[in-house]
């Protein structure tokens, strides 16, 4: 079981580009294990928030702590799956071996098992970039899970994927969460959020407008923006 990076605390986070605030006054505490889904309209700042958590972007102001650590010092306990997976120009198996070189030396069978878990065992020797979009994303998830991260971040990892791949990814994410990994994922898919989320963070125009347990968010969203979003209205 991975060591916990909880609670995750974000205090007074601000990120701007020129005069425009992309994230403004973000305060967020995530204490509970399980799956937190970040929702909100396009351009709301969801990806930026996730990237700040992962240490990929340094905010202009504010503080992020993950347990006793910061985003950079906890990097080896985190893993992130991006919307567009970037795989090395090697075979599927070599991609996993690169991510976990010690494992590849000591327990190579575990790499095959990781491929099997994402239904790619028969693709082990194929160039990773010749796999379909769904297969590439499954491989990216398998790669991310090799390190048994305490925190798994997924940035719209199932957007535009076939249902079979979505099912595999959701199953693995749920299983990983059950093993103690804290999962934070971004999704526009309300069905997916209902299936996976224990908690919803709703973000709009660079600010967190709601943080609720998933059941109460879907049954009684507190803000007009969240209500409109769930009603499928187009938010500009």
């Amino acid at each position: 079981m991975p060591d916990s990076l909880l609670p995750i605390r974000i205090r007074d986070l601000r990120l701007s580009k020129g005069d425009r605030a992309l994230l403004a006054g973000i305060n967020l505490t995530i204490e509970d294990p399980g799956i937190t889904v970040i929702m909100g309209p396009n351009g709301a700042g969801k990806t930026l928030l996730l990237r700040c958590l992962h240490g990929l972007i340094k905010p202009d102001r504010g503080q992020i702590t993950l347990g006793p650590l910061g985003p950079e010092s906890s990097r080896d306990q985190q893993a992130m799956v991006f919307q567009h997976p970037v795989l090395l120009r090697r075979t599927a198996l070599q991609n996993l071996a690169f991510a976990a070189p010690e494992l590849a030396r000591s327990e190579p069978q575990r790499l095959i098992s990781a491929l099997a878990a994402v239904h790619l065992a028969d693709r082990a020797d194929q160039p990773a970039r010749m796999l379909s979009g769904g297969e590439q994303q499954r491989l990216a998830l398998a790669r991310a899970l090799l390190s048994q991260p305490a925190l798994l971040l997924l940035d719209e990892a199932t957007a535009s994927l076939d249902p079979a791949s979505v099912l595999v990814i959701e199953s693995l994410v749920k299983a990983q969460s059950a093993q103690g990994t804290k999962v934070i994922l971004i999704s526009h898919d309300q069905g997916q959020a209902r299936r996976l989320a224990d908690e919803i963070v709703f973000i709009s125009d660079g600010q967190i407008t709601e943080q609720s347990p998933a059941d109460s968010f879907f049954s009684a969203p507190r803000t007009p923006m969240a209500r409109a979003y769930l009603a499928g209205e187009i938010l500009l």
Binding site: R75, M80, L88
Partner: protein, 231 residues
Amino acid sequence: MNALAEAFRLIITLDADLFEILWLSIRVSLIALAISAVISLPLGTWLAITRFPGRKFCILVLNALMGMPPVVVGLMVYLLLSRSGPLGWMGLLYTPTAMIIAQVVLITPIIAALSNQVIENLHQEYRDTFYSMGVTGRRAVVAYLVDARYALTTCILAGFGRAIAEVGAVIIVGGNIDHLTRVMTTAIALETSKGNLSLALGLGAVLLALSLLVNALVIGVREYAAKRQYA
């Protein structure tokens, strides 16, 4: 026409003089290429993935050095290796080693600048993923070199093309000495001035064939990489 026929005869009869010159040319250029690749590929990669003050100036200088006139390189290496120069005690002037040094100086900026561009593009793609995976330093450099292997092969072949066709620098530091430092390009220049067009044409044909072979290899490597999705 007589000169052309004689040139053809020299090639198909494997004329000893012609093939001695050809072998020396290839040997000098391949050794220079190997040394240059060891220097330039990590240098180009390092410049692509690290950030430090003056980095852009370094890349600017590297790019400018790509167009360095070979005779200037020849002169610099000559001054370095001449008896009164700082490395004169090594006695390398007018030897194949001097020609190798000149070619290394000439093609290193070319391969480094081209590989820098290749790795820079790859770095844009891999940067976030490598950060996320904690891949840094030597491990990142090796990963970039491995993943860009096909594109880098074309950079290296471009360097070889430049080296094998070089005349200005090698004639200054090599001296075009028969059976010692005479390579294809310097021999062509000499034989043409002597009016021995058959040997000059024969060497020219071989040089042209080598150039075509290198270009065919470049295209072949690119197509293979694209087909296998390794591009």
